[in-house]
Symmetry: C2
Subunit: 406 residues, 2 copies
């Protein structure tokens, strides 16, 4: 179930990028589970991967290949994470790359593998290569939505977002897809995101752009605080738009492009939270008045990861004691509750050391009732702020994660 099924408008094509999908029967025979992306020669690629030290075989191989060549092809599968599989899993990922490279006529190091799904199982390499063989004959510029579906695991909705801006009088497109219903879905998922633009952007600047964007989008969401073994986010720039190549962070075109990529990435990130396991609430945590952005983020994540706060969100319970207890243990040096304010959906609840004068329990319950909650904590220390998006903790979350393999 998704908290909100608002569909984005149709995804705009990105000249220079083609996708195809196939049914390889990795886990379920009834749906597409392999997607292949091919991008034009001279496309630049930026990528970030999970920081988890228990990373999956495809993460190891993709990082290695990226250090040597610009990629031309991605192979993405759902149903199997190829994690915890040791050297055999690394060999499997390499065989996928070698086989795909042979089909398309590129170097194996120009192929990047991406997997999500069950941890500890081997990839069915032969069946997958059959599916990949079908894909390479069907590559199309308008298959973004098919790809968004094929990479889903227990996601309930495909996730895509798109933007168009103007660079040098040329229309430039940014389109992205993502999958994931938590920071980790250890059995059947984790987060992948593929973004592409037809803008021409210098390689190292593209990587800077992606890091900046991820810090403001995918790294600002949390469902359960668990970092995945397979997370990856990739940004391609094909250059097909014909703009003069963006090569300086001071170029106004860079700002516009980065803002557009960030807009697409935030929509995808927020779609992940809305589709989170068992979620019934979509919560924006807005921490202001901090002495530093780090302090604001500490407070936001401590709230976001508190099981007690999350169950109160689930219950639509204005349980401000739980919220402030989380603020108080976030480790903010010099925090003084005589200056702290708490506002939920516009209702002031706690004001400098005590419950707000006009606060009544009934007002709190009304403020907590909507599906979308905006919680503002003012630390009263400075002018820094940060925003994080999260969801509630429902008994459906426990059921999904406890009963999954039973």
């Amino acid at each position: 179930m998704s908290v909100d099924d608002t569909k984005d408008s149709a995804l705009l094509l990105v000249p220079g990028v083609r996708w195809a999908v196939a049914r390889a029967g990795i886990r379920q025979s009834s749906r597409d589970d392999v997607a292949v992306l091919e991008c034009a020669p001279d496309t630049n690629c930026a990528a970030v991967f999970t920081q988890n030290q228990f990373y999956a075989a495809p993460v190891l191989v993709a990082r290695e290949h990226l250090q040597r060549r610009q990629p031309r092809v991605f192979v993405v599968n759902s149903g199997c994470a190829n994690a915890g599989t040791g050297q055999l899993g690394v060999d499997d990922a390499r065989r996928i790359c070698t086989g795909t490279a042979a089909f398309i006529g590129v170097d194996p190091e120009q192929v990047l593998p991406f997997s999500t799904g069950v941890i500890g199982e081997r990839l069915p390499v032969t069946r997958m290569l059959e599916g990949i063989g079908q894909c390479v004959q069907r590559l199309r510029p308008d298959a973004w939505e098919d790809a968004a579906r094929a990479i889903m695991t227990t996601d309930t909705v495909p996730k895509g977002a798109t933007a168009r801006i103007d660079v040098d009088g040329q229309p430039v497109t940014v389109t992205g897809i993502a999958k994931g219903v938590g920071m980790i879905r250890p059995d059947m998922a984790t987060m992948l995101a593929f973004l592409a633009t037809d803008a021409a952007v210098e390689q190292s600047l593209l990587q800077n752009c992606l890091r900046w964007v991820v810090g403001r989008s995918f790294n600002r969401i949390t469902v359960d605080g668990d970092t995945s073994t397979n997370d990856a986010c990739v940004l391609l720039a094909t250059g097909a738009a014909g703009n003069s190549k963006i090569s300086s962070p001071h170029d106004p075109a860079y700002d516009r492009l980065a803002a557009a990529v960030c807009d697409v990435a935030r929509k995808l990130a927020q779609a992940v939270v809305r589709d989170a396991e068992g979620a019934t609430k979509y919560v924006t945590l807005n921490v202001v008045g901090g002495a530093s952005e780090e302090d604001c983020l500490s407070v936001a994540y401590t709230i976001a990861h508190s099981p007690l706060v999350k169950t109160a969100f689930f219950a639509s319970d204005p349980n401000w004691g739980r919220l402030l207890a989380a603020v108080g243990r976030a480790g903010v040096a010099g925090l003084d509750f005589q200056k702290v304010r708490l506002v939920i959906n516009g209702l002031e609840i706690f004001d400098r050391g005590a419950v707000a004068a006009a606060y009544r329990e009934e007002l709190g319950q009304a403020a907590m009732a909507p599906v979308d909650l905006r919680v503002t904590v003012d630390l009263g220390m400075g002018d820094q702020q940060a925003e994080v998006w999260t969801c509630d903790l429902s008994n459906e979350y426990v059921r999904i994660n406890a009963e999954y393999r039973s």
Copy 2:
């Protein structure tokens, strides 16, 4: 519900310490909800309090009083945490101390207040003082068990432990009680622990002893990772045993006493975990082979706080991918999964980079079936280790915390 209701043997009296309880009607009229402890003159007192910056009024007042005088009297109530109550709450706590001091004939600064229960509500000071007045007429050395019941909030079992050792040929007793069903029960609880011994111990050494003990007991348990606003742990030493006063950490009697206090504190801490909200499993996390104790603790707490691992415990699911993903995000510098081993209840599951050769899913399910689980993670880096006790995350936990106020 408690995971295991094993009763400790009867609590031994501590010469110099008396308790009494009364029904003040703070929240429920049907049970005792105030307890008063009085200790002999010249008793030394060590105490540690919550590190949460959003601490309750009684924590503020108790810390203040401890800086000025050795305490003679504790007043403990359940039903109301007196937290988030601002200056009015501080005034209420002071009135409790002043009134109690008048009843007993001590200085108000010799009275320490302790409260747990609902956050944001005021103490019913007049009704409480009535109850306290009844208590001071009934103080008895053998009321430890009554006190253990009176300080309960939504605990399902009273928690007490006791030990006897020999110092200078004198029998010395250590007895303690505790309440709490999580690191925090924001509405109706949090953790309090009162320990006492009749040994004679120099004051600053007693404080060192308590810090050492808490680091190996109450600070090694976690239910949900939420630090309370009201936590307190106190250790009294009345000196009534007549041993020559222990004044050096090199005195062998100090080691014996510290070990006995630690034994009592661990039993109480483990009783808190067994009675944790919704718990169906009691889990010992044993991390070995670390380069430092800090690394081992990071790994243990990351596992203990992962909702995905905790739901797998609940499901008796040998979901080793979730466990290793938690190990991998614990931030241990230089961790190499080629050296990591995972063992659950004696079954080797993961061995240096891949699933253990002899592992079968059926064996994993059998190993996870018992109520008591022992998870050993060998980091393969050094000879340091740490142990943490925790529980699972059940739908009962969500129900308790979501429906509490509905």
